[in-house]
Amino acid sequence: MIQATSITKVYGIGTIEIRALNGIDFNVKQGEFVAIQGPSGCGKSTLLNVLSCIDKPTSGTISIDSIDIAHLSDKALAKIRRDKIGFIFQSYNLIPTLNALENVMLPMMFAGKDNNKTSERAATLLEMVEMQERMKHKPSELSGGEQQRVAIARALSNDPLLIVGDEPTGNLDSKTGAAVMKILTELNREGRTVVVVTHDPAVAGTAHRVLQMKDGQFINNQSEQEEQT
């Protein structure tokens, strides 16, 4: 699903260079559940952003679903984000002016899908995350856990193969966080590839692999990782 080789991401502020990613290799098989952990500032978010085509690496090659994304135009990258990847943010990032249903419909709207079907699908997805009662509510009227469930439904709207979460439970209490993780686990059982950054120790039990990051690199690549590279 993901093949990333020698990824670097260098931020230059004035004369100081920050290597947020330092020649990282990262492979994820179809259907895998990978958790990434590490201290603050070690480059976890940077890695996810680069993998999700939200940001571009300074060097290295990445292919998503066998598509080499290095030479793709901005428009093509947007389409990959739209159709192949469902991104879940730590801070939910719902559009404040739209209600839950419309937020879930949004990626389908960008895909130009038929209106009746999109609202039907959005409703089904909201039902799946147990938000069917709150479809007409704006994000400001929802709790953090509820917003995150809407955000998960939104990430699923174009039926992506890859779900990426950057500390999706980071802003939630442990009980709500556990519920969100349970949804992600179920999505993985359905066959979707899941990559999450999380500090939640319980995730170690559910994920196929837990990778530890430090200073823009993995420190304890697990056996599966080694097998692939």
Partner: protein, 400 residues
């Protein structure tokens, strides 16, 4: 993305900032209202004036004297019937109708009012005065009748005020001792001929009343409109010569008058529409301003949309549709206000300038108003929308 969804999202954003959106669309509405009302009124006036002149474009009006435009008329005497015969000989002249114009005193039940009599061949009323004579009530003077007269609605009003009467069709007025029955009332004054507050009556009767046969007005029908200026000059020269004067006879055509009226309208319209366009430009700048603020405020939102798969084009069109929606609503309000303003202004015009002016509200004006508003909105939205579209998703997402 489908256009309906873009409109839906744009509408959500506008609703979020109701006052701001309203103020912006107001400036567009003001500009559009000004343009729409001016065009409606201008078209209605030109049309109304044109109608009054209908059937008289090929008529040259000849006066025995010098006209100081808008102010005075200094006569050197009067024409004779022979003058009319001479004018008829000029090439291009089809027919000549001579009219007496005299001051007289109209009496009714012991009260008196000054009137100007306009005496001519009853058959010439229809033939030479054309669309200027639109009967509101009654009928024209019968051929051969001698005791009949017609007046305009405003002349009748003037008479009734002086005579403290309520004269109507069928009533009898005494002019210098001769009883005349009012057989018809014209809707309009003979504006085309610069004639107002006059009583139209057969020439014979006018002669009888005034004991004179001075022809004070000649109406000349020509059969070659292209040569109207040339024929005017020839008439003036001929009559100057016959009366031993130079440059005093005045011949004017309705065609020329109509042209002047239209020119004046065009100048006024161009001037006020210029102001309206300035209002539109101000409105457009308002949209640019509001949209730029909106783009900056929504940077994070733009980042989110891009992160979940919006292309730059999606974002561009989203903001363009938003600008277009504001301006279209503004345009709609402007068109409605413009129609309302024209309706109000036309009642004033109908009361004071052109009697019973019908409003002409063509679909072209309404649609045109909306299109101008829309174009203003889209042009103004272009720069802010491009700025939004060009944002990089990762940077926009980081924006707080």
């Amino acid at each position: 993305m489908r256009i309906l969804n873009k409109i839906r999202l744009a509408y959500r954003n506008l609703k979020e900032h109701k006052l701001r959106s309203f103020l912006t669309l107001l400036s567009i509405a003001v500009g559009i209202a000004a343009i729409v009302s001016l065009i409606i009124i201008g078209q209605s006036m030109v049309q109304a004036v044109g109608e009054r002149f209908e059937g008289t474009v090929d008529i040259i009006r000849v006066l025995p004297g010098h006209v100081i435009p808008g102010r005075d008329f200094v006569s050197y005497g009067s024409f004779t019937e022979e003058d009319g015969e001479a004018v008829k000989e000029i090439a291009g002249v089809a027919d000549v109708s001579s009219w007496m114009i005299e001051i007289a005193e109209a009496g009714y039940e012991g009260r008196f009012a000054p009137v100007e009599l306009m005496g001519g061949d009853p058959a010439d009323i229809g033939r030479f005065l054309g669309g200027a004579v639109q009967l509101k009530e009654g009928r024209l003077i019968r051929e051969g009748a001698t005791r009949e007269a017609i007046v305009s609605a405003s002349t009748l009003k003037h008479l009734n005020r002086w005579l403290e009467a309520e004269l109507k069709v069928g009533d009898t007025l005494t002019i210098n001792g001769v009883d005349l029955t009012i057989v018809g009332i014209m809707a309009y004054d003979l504006a085309a001929l610069d004639v107002s507050h006059r009583v139209l009556l057969p020439k014979e009767t006018a002669r009888e009343i005034t004991q004179s046969d001075n022809v004070m007005l000649m109406l000349v029908r020509i059969d070659d409109l292209a040569r109207v200026d040339e024929i005017e000059d020839q008439i003036e020269e001929l009559l100057d010569e016959r009366h031993g004067v130079t440059g005093l006879t005045t011949a004017t055509s309705v065609e020329g008058l109509l042209g002047r009226v239209e020119t004046v309208f065009l100048i006024i319209q161009a001037f006020v529409i210029g102001i309206a366009f300035i209002a539109l430009i101000v409105g457009g700048i308002g949209i640019v301003n509001i949209m730029l603020i909106s783009v900056i405020e929504r940077t994070r939102e733009i980042g989110i949309m891009k992160a979940i798969g919006a292309t730059s084009e999606d974002v561009l069109y989203l903001f363009l549709v938003e600008a277009a929606t504001i301006s279209l609503i503004g345009g709609l309000l402007g068109v409605l206000a413009g129609v309302a303003i024209s309706a109000v202004v036309s009642t004033f015009i109908s009361g004071f300038i052109i009697a019973d002016m019908p409003l002409i509200i063509g679909p072209d004006v309404l649609v045109g108003g909306l299109i101008i508003a829309l174009v203003t909105g889209i042009i103004s939205g272009l720069y802010p929308a491009r700025r939004a579209a060009k944002m990089r998703p990762i940077e926009a997402l980081r924006h707080e």
